[in-house]
Amino acid sequence: MDWLSRQFSTRVIVLMPIAIAINIVLGATVQQALKLPIYLDSIGTILVGVVAGPFAGLLTGVLSNLIWGYLLPAPIGSTTIGPFAIVAGVIGLLAGVWGRLGLFRSRRGESSSIPGAVVAVILVGALAVYTYARAYASPTDFQNNTGFDPATIDQSRIFFLLILVVFVALIAVALFLRRDVGAVYAIGAGLVTGIVAAIVSAPIAAVVFGGVTGSGTDLLVAAFRAGGDSLVSATLKQGLLSDPMDKMITSFVVFFIIGNLSQRFIARFPNGERLVSTSSM
């Protein structure tokens, strides 16, 4: 029980509502003001998971969506968010695991981390290839009820390429701007989180909303359905495209935030000692 209560120190309890507000406000702004096909509604969740632990992350994610969906009045509140509370919880839980593994630790100027980073990129890349090959190259698994010939489209390469481009671009930006190998681990963790999030959220989106969410990503769902995909298959494909990109960007942002906060501040959180660069202590 001690490890559990330590995740909820007063400092974490204070951080959680602030993180929830960051999730909701940025999520709503990006979707409504900037109208981009990403969500950016889990910065707070991933931040709490990383600095405080898996259970705190899980609760932050779940509460974000429940409050956003059900406890806020209409212009901000949006009933479409509530059912995805489970997904948000999984995202926070994973972030907590990544934080425990030290994947968000700054490794500025640690050349000894480079081989590890290369291995991480290869492992994450292999996982991504496997997932996308299953989702796109053999769509029969997902579209048994469509009667559509899966051989005529092979979108897998295009979409996998897109994800890979974002993955590599973010890593390049991280290495170029911050000279920090640690970003590679964080972005890789984001990619994995995104894939898991897509797999968890597809059935929810399909059952509750008929595959749509009323946001920019609906166009993608429409495109897949026009291509003949079933409901779950189309939402899964949309998710596998949007979620990894979103979570890679979010993880990169969180890594950047942690790197820019005072080390003294970060060190006071339950997971603090696993986040502060060993060379700066």
Binding site: T10, R11, I13, V14, L15, M16, P17, I18, I20, A21, I22, I24, V25, L26, A28, T29, V30, A33, L34, K35, L36, P37, L40, I43, L63, S64, I67, G69, Y70, L71, A74, I76, G77, T79, T80, G82, N145, T146, G147, F148, V207, V208, F209, G210, G211, V212, T213, G214, D218, A222, R225, A226, G227, G228, D229, S230, V253, I257, L261, F265
Partner: protein
Amino acid sequence: MTADRPTGSPPSPPDFVLQAPSGAYLSLNPATKLLVAAVEVEAAFLVGTWTGPVLVLLLVLASAAIAGVLPRLAVIVAVTVPIVASIMLINGFLYPGAVDVIVRIGPLAPSVSGFQFGLQITLRLLAASLALAVAYLATRTDDLLSDLERRGFGRRATYVIGSAIETVPRTVDRAAEIVDAQRSRGLDTEGRWWRRARGIVPLAAPVVFGALTEVEERTMALEARAFSTPGPRTVLRVLPDSTPQRLGRYVLLLALVAMIVGRITGPLAVLP
């Protein structure tokens, strides 16, 4: 303040703290209203394909009328318009495997079964979200939190929820100020997607860092007010509850379980 109460009786919080909601439906205990909403949501998804959503929708509208929140439901319905449009268009025009296609226009194939499916999803969604909206509109958040705390919810949980609800509007204001300021300096909120994407960093960074600077101050202020004392807090007010409501809640809990059983074993699945 001391003049508010007759001398001699034990001191109690002033009336404006204790006042409980009055009026039909509104005066029900928050736990009852929450449970009613949960049963309605579940029914919308588990009872038949049309029966559940339609029944729940009627029930929700009736309770909203009794509670006097019917006009405010209109706003909730307005918010769901984009998603309802999405649901109808995507399913209506792009329903894979439909045999009753009306007309084919390129990749678009509007079909009867597609529109039926879209309508069914829409009804479910409306029923579920309006059920929750009525619970929300008929309950003050503070009442809900007081009641949860009295039922053994910890101080940490109620703080997180209460504080989040208070923090969101403040953060919205700050984000709006930042968007305005960045717009006047050329942030693009209407242009092509990559131009809009470039706007994320100058928008997100001040919001996030501004919010995080408060963490230390708030932590110390809470500690200075004995927040980390172990155990439950003093209950300030007990919201009215009644035996019929308590019995009713057991019935509702039974209904929650019964619907799952009914759906799995079949009787609810075969309903229209």
